[in-house]
């Protein structure tokens, strides 16, 4: 991976992104397009909330019984002739892949899009061994040429525009290519076709693994996944251990949710189901099919009431598109391969160094847009708070912040101290307030006033004026009997409900 991205702090990375107006425009443009596409597609489908709930139930059920469905999947896949490997860590996943490469004396590999292969940083290891790796998804191909990590789960090169792509491709072509989408896509296609035909091994990801059938299902829009899984003699599929769903029937729900949530498509262009290696009467397909099932700290979330649901994720990217933070900084600011709200949650989970990665949870205003967008209703906004709480409990927060929170506790734990503090503030602000606002950029206030004016405390707080107001309003005014009746009714219903619950 690109070292520069993760070495510096969250703030530095955010700063880099904020200074890159071009990046922001590109990200805003595409995420807005995806958002409105999703809106239109889900409106057209209708009953979206019910679909979401169905999706959530399927994922909850599967993850609650993951051991059962995983072993069912593995048994069925083995029966169909697939070779199954388990990798408990990222390193192990890489080791297993390298061993297969060695056995096949592989010199070249073609890959279709796979986030989990990014997670285990496979390309790096292969290149070190002198194996040529070519990403065949157009977006992945672009970032591979640029030596970058993906900046979006489903649109890896979301931060780049046509002109930049033309520059990258021109280098490979050895001639100047115009910044024309058709020309560029055409160039990539012809270049990649060569690679498909030469490759010893094809590596794919897996969108869903069907337990009852031992089949793996790939969604793609470019058809490259189909080429990767049919042309080379050996295929390796990498999948996170949570990619399972019980049945084909469940796939129908997922195939309804995922493309709509991701891009606003009613259907993905290509949906391939792989049932083991090539059989005698098959026209194509690999002679040997290896499936590497990767844990990499996922199983440690099982049974955790706060984080288990993160395993329900179907990697659609909708939470990124909805996120106002992602919108401004793009994916690289998150520092690793997964970005946006889901990235902020799973990155610390998948890493041992929680201190370093727990920090990303701060890059959220907790607006909840991610939860609202998520087709399987993962409460990412709550999880971000849990991570923050863990950071506090593990003593990973800054001293100044701790002091501030201690002060907050002292002031707000009692209405008298609260009142005293407000009075002190009313006095103190006289030094800095001008014309009913504070603009001065001094002390801790400057973080606020750098971008906005601050209001002043009211001369009299509400609590100070309450007695006067209460007296003024004390003269009886006629009560509307209808309103009283409505309120009584609500009260009675509430009591009844509580009685029956007791």
């Amino acid at each position: 991976m690109n070292e520069v991205q993760s070495e510096n702090s969250l703030k530095d990375r955010v700063q880099v992104a904020l200074n890159n107006e071009f990046l922001q425009n590109a990200v805003k443009f595409t995420t807005e397009k995806l958002r409105s596409g999703k809106q239109a597609a889900t409106d057209q489908l209708g009953h979206w909330e019910e679909w979401r709930e169905r999706g959530r139930q399927i994922r909850l059920h599967t993850i609650a019984h993951l051991d059962y469905y995983l072993s069912l999947f593995v048994d069925n896949l083995r029966a169909a002739g697939g070779i199954v490997h388990f990798a408990s860590t990222a390193e192990e996943a890489v080791r297993i892949s390298l061993k297969i490469m060695e056995a096949k004396q592989a010199k070249s590999v073609v890959k279709s899009k796979s986030m989990v292969s990014e997670e285990v940083e496979l390309n790096h290891a292969l290149i070190e061994k002198g194996i040529e790796v070519v990403e065949t998804d157009l977006g992945e191909y672009i970032i591979q040429l640029a030596n970058e990590t993906p900046s979006h789960i489903i649109i890896p090169a979301i931060h780049r525009n046509r002109k930049q792509v033309a520059e990258l491709f021109s280098k490979v072509a050895g001639e100047e290519l115009p910044a024309d989408t058709a020309v560029l896509a055409g160039f990539a296609r012809s270049k990649l076709r060569e690679k498909f035909l030469q490759a010893d091994i094809g590596i794919t990801g897996c969108n869903f693994a069907i337990a009852e059938a031992g089949s793996m299902v790939l969604f793609s829009n470019e058809g490259n996944a189909r080429m990767v899984s049919t042309l080379p003699k050996t295929q390796i599929t990498m999948m996170g251990m949570e990619r399972i769903i019980p049945s084909w029937e469940d796939l129908e729900v997922m195939a309804t949710l995922l493309p709509r949530a991701a891009t606003g498509q009613d259907l993905t262009v290509y949906m391939s189901a792989i049932n083991g290696p090539r059989r005698n009467d098959d026209l194509d397909g690999p002679e040997e099919l290896h499936v590497i099932i990767i844990d990499n700290n996922r199983s440690s979330q099982l049974g955790d009431p706060e984080f288990q649901e993160v395993l329900n994720c179907i990697r659609c990217g909708a939470c990124l598109n909805a996120c106002p933070v992602y919108r401004h900084v793009g994916g690289h600011a998150y520092g690793w391969v997964y970005s946006g709200p889901i990235g902020a949650v799973i990155t610390p989970i998948l890493h041992k160094d929680k201190e370093k990665w727990g920090e990303i949870a701060n890059a959220s205003s907790l607006c909840g847009a991610c939860y609202e967008a998520c087709p399987v209703k993962i409460p990412l906004h709550d999880m971000l708070v849990y991570i923050r709480r863990n950071n506090v409990e593990k003593n990973r927060t800054k001293k100044l912040e701790k002091l501030g929170m201690n002060l907050f506790r002292k002031v707000t734990s009692n209405h008298r101290t609260f009142h005293l503090a407000v009075q002190a503030g009313q006095l103190g602000q006289k030094l800095i307030a001008r014309k009913g606002k504070i603009t001065s950029k001094i002390g801790p206030l400057k973080k606020w006033t750098a971008y906005r004016d601050a209001p002043v405390l009211a001369k009299r707080s509400f609590r100070e004026s309450w007695d006067r107001l209460e007296k003024e309003l004390n003269q009886e005014i006629p009560q509307d009997p209808n309103l009283q009746k409505r309120m009584q009714k609500i009260l009675a219903e509430r009591r009844e409900k509580n009685e029956s619950e007791r």
Binding site: V392, T412, N414, R452, P455, F462, R463, S465, R486
Partner: protein, 241 residues
């Protein structure tokens, strides 16, 4: 029947005119509010920053203050959202408090919720002859589910021309301590929100959460723009008086 005002800390110490407008509107319908002085802050700044022990201390003042109330009303979707959505998590290990939290949850309403759902009022007979745009705050809509209520109320205000806000549901960038911890990022977000507000050419920006409005108003003022920013309770009260 005891109907209590949950003033929220911001509308206590910075924007008392908002709480006052709310009190006066309800008074017109014969609803007399009581103001339990024990209350301080809902604890959200600490809770969202991960300081749950600190948050509990201030949350306890809210739980205690409204113990005997039949209805609790607040001029903030975010603070009511805190009670509804986060208090049960915060006190999940403390049985007795959890019981009280569940009772508090049931009886606590955000201002527009109370008007529309409890009182069944959408038309206050107000007149407000201005171009207005509305910012739906994130916690009100997503934590509390208050979506249509403010629009229902605004649509009945005579003379009020409601102009849609672009990307209205995008967060304004406030996010509590986020605004200072990630100040450049928060600054970029509020800058964009202010741009969209200005694009509407509205004279008034209205909302139901003063924290978000404080953020956006602060940005507009920083840019030297004088567009009036008010809470919906203020707008309605001005419209009826």
């Amino acid at each position: 029947m005891k109907v209590s005002l949950f003033v929220t800390c911001l509308c206590d110490v910075i924007y008392p005119q908002v709480s006052e407008a709310m009190v006066r509107i309800l008074h017109r319908y014969g609803i007399k509010l009581d103001f339990p002085k024990l209350q301080t802050c809902c604890g959200q700044p600490a809770f969202n920053s991960g300081y749950w022990e600190e948050a509990k201390e201030s949350a306890k003042t809210i739980i205690a203050a409204f113990k005997d109330s039949d209805f609790v009303i607040a001029p903030s979707g975010s603070c009511v959202g805190m009670i509804h959505h986060h208090y049960p998590t915060l006190f999940k290990e403390e049985r007795e408090l959890l019981q009280q939290v569940n009772e508090l949850k049931e009886k606590t309403y955000e201002f527009t919720q109370f008007l529309v759902h409890v009182l069944g009022i959408t038309d206050l007979g107000a007149t407000f002859r201005h171009r207005v745009t509305y910012h739906p705050s994130c916690h009100a809509t997503r934590l509390l589910g208050v979506t249509n209520e403010p629009y229902q109320l605004l649509s009945k205000v005579k003379g009020c021309q409601l102009i849609p806000l672009k990307n209205a549901s995008d967060c304004c960038g406030f996010g509590g301590t986020f605004a200072v911890k990630m100040s450049d990022l928060s600054g970029a977000m509020v800058k964009e929100k202010a741009e969209h507000v200005l694009e509407t050419e509205a004279e008034v920006l209205v909302g139901i959460d003063m924290a978000c409005l404080m953020n956006i108003a602060g940005r507009l003022s920083h840019e030297g723009k004088n567009i009036r920013v008010m809470h919906l309770a203020e707008l309605l009260y001005e419209g009826v008086s």
